[in-house]
């Protein structure tokens, strides 16, 4: 058994094996995060930044510490640049809100065919409001951004908003190349880190992006919490996104003045327990040996890719190598629908997969398909999970193909 499973309560009591390979959708929560959540809700539950009693003081300190943990996880320069959101979706919507006033009619937002709908639709809405338009970086047959084509796409690009790692092909984006493009064009760079954040700590300063969003539930924290990091001057340049408590400085009936970032973007009582638990999850992640975990993930991904490649009628979408990727693999079995595969793998083999368009319909169209099966790895997966997947697929193929 993979010893890291001791850190994940999901594996504590099982009546059957848990071959959980849907980590790109939601990972299991790690024990420190769950314990932090229970501790807050039990011992410290109270609102933050309002009460003066000791219980509220403890809650406020824990909440501030969570922001610092997110800062350290991202290697952000200051906790004031960490905005707690409900997840990557709200983070990216907030990013689009913050940047949209910079757009003039005719300007272009550069996205890509790899994008999850949450890094596409907010930009469509912003473009519509400002008379701007979207342009997409094409994708290679290997499921990667075709950055060779960047220069021909440059005209009037003001914002580049792309994924840091694909939720379908697992390809990790060459951010340095995009940074160079942005330096040359003056565009701002927004990264959707929803997938990449589950694979170890980040360095937004080294990446050179301007805004970065990720979700807690994909990186071993609770649902309903996420982070938007942004350069302070950008966060400070835009009006609030939502109005309410926590985000104001002074309010009269006619008008209000707004709190500085990050509070300007955190209207209302935040998900305090969620934020504290996310902080604990990120601290857990920072304490791991990611060289070892990365090698383990590449080994398992390689085993999965090799097994799929030798399965008759199996088509893999994207690169079949193990470098510059996360352990996310999409494939299709000839003449068997993705949801039929997923249902049978669960009911007959205890393997949990995701089937569908993965909220990436433009990419499905690029690959001329409707739905794929996706298996995605986390540190608690092991060879038995991959074997169960491959054996299960062989059985499904015999049954249905």
């Amino acid at each position: 058994m993979n010893p890291i499973r001791q850190d994940f309560p999901a594996f504590d009591r099982l009546d059957r094996p848990l071959h959980f390979l849907d980590n790109a959708a939601t990972s299991q929560i790690c024990r420190p995060a769950l314990e932090a959540l229970v501790r807050f809700e039990t011992d410290d539950r109270s609102n933050v930044k309002r009460g003066v009693y000791a219980r509220a003081e403890r809650a406020s300190v824990a909440f501030d510490d969570a922001r610092k943990a997110a800062m350290e996880f991202l290697n952000a320069p200051s906790p004031e640049e960490i905005v707690f959101t409900s997840g990557a979706t709200l983070g990216l919507n907030t990013a689009a809100h913050i940047l949209q006033d910079r757009l003039k009619p005719g300007d272009v937002i550069l996205v890509s065919l790899l994008e999850h709908h949450s890094n596409l639709v907010p930009w469509q809405l912003a473009a519509e409001r400002r008379g701007a338009s979207l342009r997409a970086i094409p994708v290679t047959d290997g499921g990667r951004l075709d950055l060779e084509r960047l220069d021909e796409l440059a005209d009037r690009v003001k914002i580049v908003a792309v994924t840091h790692a694909s939720n379908v092909t697992g390809a990790i984006t060459d951010v340095a190349r995009l940074r160079a493009f942005c330096d040359a064009t003056g565009a701002l760079l927004v990264l959707d880190g929803a997938q990449r954040a589950a694979h170890g700590p980040l360095d937004v300063q080294a990446l050179g992006c301007d805004l970065y969003a990720f979700s807690g539930h994909k990186c071993f924290g609770p649902t309903g919490i996420g982070v938007l990091w942004g350069r302070y001057d950008l966060l400070d340049s835009a009006p609030p996104f939502l109005g309410g408590g926590e985000m104001i400085r002074r309010v009269s009936i006619e008008r209000s003045t707004f709190a500085p970032p990050p509070h300007r973007y955190e209207a209302g009582t935040p998900p305090i327990g969620g934020a504290i638990a996310l902080g604990a999850a990120l601290a857990w992640s920072m304490a791991q040996d990611w060289d070892r975990l990365g090698a383990q993930e590449r080994e398992l991904a390689g085993r999965m890719l090799d097994g799929l490649a030798s399965l008759p009628g199996c088509r893999i979408y994207g690169d079949t190598g193990t470098q510059q990727r996360i352990g996310v693999v999409s494939f299709e079995l000839e003449d068997v629908h993705a949801h039929d595969v997923c249902q049978l793998l669960d009911s007959d083999h205890g393997v949990m997969l995701r089937g569908g368009h993965h909220c990436a319909q433009p990419l499905m169209e690029r690959f001329d398909t409707v739905a794929t099966v996706r298996a995605s790895l986390a540190p608690y997966n092991d060879g038995a999970d991959v074997d169960a997947l491959l054996n299960g697929l062989e059985a499904v193929r015999r049954k249905l193909a």
Binding site: H337, D348, V370, L400
Partner: protein
């Protein structure tokens, strides 16, 4: 557990591809998507004197959707429009537990709520087609 979800009756019904194809000159056509998975069904109806004289469906979907589309063709084709109008509500009631011999092979789907839309999709397309027909008067 959905062990029986892929039993032989459902697989056979899907593979029968009853009514699969397109009509050359349909009276009305409706297209319906399942946003969960992007599955899509196109239903063509030929309607004459208050009856569905012919029906064809082009189905891009999982086995459950295909089996359901075959059932759709079995029950709607040749029947009258008034009876066809009831089918959408009938399959909805069936997945929620009401007995209905016509859909009996789909019984295992009752325990898999995430797949209910797979079997109602073809009937939704039929309902959309009939609504369109009614609008035209």
């Amino acid at each position: 557990m959905n062990d029986a979800l892929y039993d032989q009756a459902i697989i056979a019904e899907a593979r029968s591809k009853t009514g699969a194809g397109r009509l050359d000159a349909p009276t009305v056509t409706a297209e319906c998507d399942n946003p969960l998975c992007g599955d899509r069904i196109t239903v063509d109806l030929a309607v004459q004197d208050g009856a569905i004289s012919d029906l064809a469906h082009k189905t891009r979907g999982c086995l459950l959707t295909q089996a359901s589309a075959s059932l759709l063709a079995r029950y709607a084709k040749g029947g009258d429009v008034a009876a066809a109008r009831e089918l959408r509500a009938a399959i909805d009631a069936f997945v929620k537990g009401q007995d209905d011999e016509r859909f009996a092979i789909l019984t295992p789907v009752r325990n898999a709520k995430s797949r209910w839309d797979c079997v109602t999709l073809p009937f939704q397309a039929l309902a959309d087609a009939l609504a369109d027909l009614e609008k035209r008067g």
